[in-house]
Symmetry: C2
């Protein structure tokens, strides 16, 4: 018997029928003697419907009022799931974020959790109730309703698991775990039984859409056992995200290959190679709230260097506009750029202790004639920027060259 937090996303609760399925699954866990806290998102499509309604009324919806409105999406789902559980004879009780209460800061539409009062939930659990909690929402000190931003329901689940010292936080989604690569690109991709937090962080931030990166960070910080499972399959143990490397016996060198087509690259050629130049270039970009991902600067010669970085494609035009006067000011030669690129990354904690991973990767790409435009590395990751048209080919080649299709 254990205390388990389960989180079901918008697709898993997208209709009355699916909510009944979730209730059946929760009822099974409950019947096995476990204590259950279930976090749910708004029904699929509901949040977008509400945002559209808000924009019909106010061009730029007021953040405080938008949160009042958006929080109703999860509020409807918690009531429906509690009803569905009662219909199956399971004692259940719903809580909004405010009722729990989940205290956040006052940054409307992107609030951060400060504290969770677990008193009422604990009492209900001890009374034998399943507790159903609205994800994505909380209240600030003044009692104003706040939301945590997209994907915030994962964070609610992890935060509740941390506050309640739950045995495990299970994230139910429409995939049955974390794979060595996107199975739509690599049919031979294998589900990983375990993955470390560091690897998951790299994969989450690299475009593997299984988990929100914030929730993974949160789980790592509070040492919450996190498991990704499919809400559409009855069996299956999903992927466990472990916070201790030694939970993984026989550590493989590489865990997975991720790819991402959301970025664009910008290179400033012939930049005078002097201290402070990176700040002069990236300062104005940051001031415009544009996130920069990869940054590459090579060793310069003749007092000049080339400076490259990538931004989200949505910010590409804006970034170029900002850089025009910057280039003149710093007397750089030229700006070249492109948005038909892809970033392909190799992730694995085993990389630390194995030389030759990078060269093996580069050789595999070279053999297929794929040109590498930028390279960036961390302790457990190698990312390369290539022409977008080679994305699938590169992922498949790397997956095969590291034998990821073979059981670990």
């Amino acid at each position: 018997m254990a205390l388990i937090v389960q989180k079901y996303g918008g697709t898993s609760v997208g209709s009355a029928e699916r909510i009944k399925n979730v209730a059946r699954r929760v009822a099974q866990w409950s019947a096995r003697g476990h204590q259950l806290v279930v976090v749910v998102s708004a029904m699929a499509g509901e949040t977008n419907r509400l945002i559209a309604l808000a924009k019909d009324v106010q061009t730029n919806p007021d953040p405080r009022e938008l949160d009042v409105m958006l929080s109703t999406g999860e509020q409807v789902t918690i009531a429906l799931l509690a009803m569905a559980l009662k219909e199956q004879g399971v004692q259940a009780r719903s809580y909004t974020g405010g009722q729990v209460k989940i205290l956040t800061d006052d940054a409307h539409t992107k609030a951060r959790i400060i504290a969770i009062d677990e008193k009422n939930i604990r009492a209900d659990l001890d009374n034998g109730s399943v507790v159903v909690v609205a994800g994505f929402q909380g209240v600030d000190e003044g009692g104003n309703i706040t939301t945590l931003g997209r994907g915030g329901s994962d964070t609610t689940g992890v935060a509740l698991a941390a506050a309640l010292k739950a045995h495990e936080c299970q994230i139910y989604t429409d995939v049955d775990g974390v794979y060595t690569a996107d199975p739509r690109i690599v049919p031979e991709a294998r589900r990983l039984k375990t993955i470390t937090f560091e690897e998951m962080l790299e994969l989450a931030s690299l475009g593997s859409k299984v988990l929100q990166i914030r929730s993974v960070e949160f789980a790592g910080k509070y040492k919450v056992r996190l498991r990704v499972l499919s809400s559409f399959e009855e069996q299956g143990e999903g992927t466990l995200i472990t916070f201790e490397e030694d939970e993984k016996m026989e550590q493989p060198v590489i865990s997975g290959i991720a790819s991402n087509r959301d970025e664009a690259k910008i290179t400033i050629l012939g930049v005078p190679d002097r201290p402070g130049i990176a700040y002069q270039i990236l300062g104005p970009i940051g001031d415009a709230n544009i996130d920069v991902d990869m940054i590459v600067q090579n060793v310069g010669h003749d007092g000049l260097t080339d400076f490259s970085f990538t931004v989200n494609r949505n910010d590409f035009r804006k970034a170029l506009e900002i850089l025009k006067p910057v280039r003149e000011h710093i007397k750089a030669r030229e700006i070249v750029s492109g948005d038909s690129i892809a970033k392909v990354s190799i992730v694995g904690v085993g990389m630390r202790s194995h030389a030759g991973i990078a060269s093996a990767a580069f050789r595999a790409l070279a053999e297929e004639g794929i040109n590498i435009q930028m390279i960036s590395t961390s302790e457990i990751k190698i990312s390369v920027v290539i022409d977008e048209k080679y994305t699938e080919l590169a992922v498949r080649v790397l997956h095969k060259s590291f034998n990821l299709d073979q059981p670990a």
Copy 2:
């Protein structure tokens, strides 16, 4: 400059366009220097949509969870109206029932207001904000969300006006006031500039659907000036419901004619005329939560009497089932009943001091050959039950015979 509470119903806030119209009207009142508290219902159709969703999941939706769900309807509207006001440059802030807080008992789906904390609202008003409050909802002592039942938004408006000692509570609806009769039946019907609370209570309970009876009772109890206005007309002063008769100069004898086709009549013939017999008949009816409206018992003779009453048509079959064994037990002769009846009522405080109103009414009906099946009177009302097919004719005849088409 005055503090005014305005309430807009579901039709008045039924679309983004209509919410913008409400915002324009509120902005005009605000521009004239008034302090405004605006109570809104859920957008038309939303409550029914949510109830249908609940019934898809649980055959008899759990009342606590149903309230969690239904309260989201008004929560969406308050956010939208606050946004629409801001879009027009008016400072505004929304409150759910729980945020106000509006404390109720724990009778889910039909809770009653116990107390209202007006502190936060007062502070916002003093800061120059329009305050937008969700109608129909509150919280109980335990922090559970409650709803006040259908029409509860009117009650929220009146209760807020009482708590804030507002100058006036304005109920905006799809009619422009209270009429001497239903204008669809009597084209000559006139809008009343004022009506007393007692008259309004009789009219509200008699099927004039302008105001919820609970809100009128509440307004009478706390001496809240209540005004009914149209939300679709720019001008017009509607109908003021006064709590002092002397506000009405030149008191007319009759204020209006109401009709109602929601009832069915049941008569038990040959009832032994002894003490306690009325209780023996109506006790089981009340135990089954069936409301009884008119009750008529005539002077008996030969130790026997006839006992008649009316119930809502929805409860008609159930009431007959209950009475079968009762009739045998009390040894009454026979039960006769019918559901194609109408109740037509003449209402007016002037009736008290004028003899002959009843006989004038009965003569007018007789001249048209309309048979009267039951009669019931109060100090300010005469109700008759007639065959349903004569409803419109009876209303028109009475309206004309008391000269209600002539300006008072």
